[in-house]
Symmetry: C2
Subunit: 235 residues, 2 copies
DNA sequence: GTAATAGTGTCTATCAGACACTATTCA
DNA sequence: TGAATAGTGTCTGATAGACACTATTAC
């Protein structure tokens, strides 16, 4: 059944393919996602995950396409990046059989300079607990975003992924706070530090300390950029 | 940047999209994958993951397309099914920018009736430890298959996924053997049964026993079809 | 000194892993 | 009876989680 013709597109019309991004950041108010307001049909005026077409002549691969969309929208170049999955059916886009390759990205919110452009009339952060907005996204982005949030929430339990929501240098207390915010429960300091030490993924920045009106705290950084370690137990 | 034109395909040529399958089964010789021998360019004569185009007019969604390919190739209708990911770049297919949506399926080998057809000259099971074949697959299927095997191997550690490699009715000893084969190490019977009891995913078939020249064993079945439970610790 | 947060030490109830034991069939 | 596999019980060393303690700064 594979490639029956030398010119397959004559026989099998190709689906529309877009790359969409769930860009997450953590603020005082909790987990937020970057959305764009659509300025063209379909779904004009609706909020949507930032996305774009694959530029066949320009993008080397899917990751490159996703990176391009991310940089266009946020000005950020190299955050944590992970494929969430593909969503495709005949009804999600009124223009025809379409397919969304979705990535999620984790960034430090203050590193972002949201930029408008193209057929987007607004770019803004939205709390993922903003039910009204989350339920009314364009296309099937409500379901896609839900899948991305679920993936993120699950990974918090057994990976070091949340570290990517912090800036390059951070303290262990700050890291613990990130986990607590995402999990919605407090963690024991001693146990948390033991768990982080087990998987050897961060290193102290010699001599660098976070100072305040109390004992200074050691600053840490990721050992290798973009690596994610797994705990052998849930946190 | 999204949907700049009402007729986007004029501006952005669409990539080729195929759905490919890594169909796994477990035999005496270990884990095997079903491959098809290509009967047309490109990669004529090479072994490849079974796959096909999306039939825009026929397939409701990606899952349907994958199911169609699976049924065409194996005659099997509803095994375990999971999306592995999308692989796309400009070089993997000499015909142009292409994209493979890959699923993995777990089945009982003796349930399969491999069927040829289309531009496929042979369909056969291959051991995933057959390095020579695994390294010489068509397109980037070597890398794709590797990703699927890694996913499967990882999931064995913390999920009930291996149950799908067994027929509908099975004993706990048979299930343990499946885990042992996939993990490549022996497991303690008592600990294994405790772990399986924790996550409540199988149920005894009242009165049904596997008989041999020894004490009969209770037969079990999955509680809900297609569900996968997660252990909170690795096995 | 106090307040505040960083960072470490200890103790205990729990439980995973190792292992042994009992159970039930066939021959 | 013995062989073979099913299925359960027990014991112990390791450790997760709870909690308390010490450390170091600003003021």
């Amino acid at each position: 059944m594979v490639e029956a013709m030398s010119n397959p597109e004559d026989i099998h019309p190709r689906p529309i393919v877009s790359v969409d991004l769930a860009i997450f950041a953590l603020t005082q108010d909790g987990l937020e996602v970057l959305l764009t307001k659509r300025g063209a049909e379909p779904f004009v005026g609706s909020w949507a995950l930032p996305g774009g077409w694959i530029h066949v002549d320009e993008d080397r691969d899917l990751e490159t396409a996703a990176q391009r969309v991310l940089t266009d929208k946020t000005g950020v170049a190299t955050p944590y990046f992970e494929q969430v999955g593909v969503f495709g059916n005949t009804t999600r886009d009124p223009r025809g059989w379409s397919l969304s390759v979705t990535y999620m990205a984790l960034i430090t919110q203050n590193a972002v300079i949201p930029t408008q452009g193209g057929n987007v009339t607004d770019v803004a952060w939205h709390s993922i607990s903003d039910e009204a907005t989350m339920a009314s996204l364009a296309f099937d982005h409500t379901a896609i975003l839900k899948a991305a949030v679920t993936r993120l929430r699950n990974k918090v339990e057994y990976t070091t992924l949340p570290v990517h929501l912090l800036p390059e240098a951070f303290t262990l207390s700050e890291l613990q706070t990130v986990y607590e915010r995402l999990l919605g429960r407090v963690l024991d300091k001693s146990a948390f530090r033991k768990r982080m030490a087990e998987v050897d993924f961060i290193e102290p920045l010699a001599g660098k300390m976070r100072r305040g009106s109390n004992r200074p705290a050691q600053l840490y950084q990721l050992k290798q950029a973009r690596s994610t370690a797994f705990f052998d137990r849930t946190i």
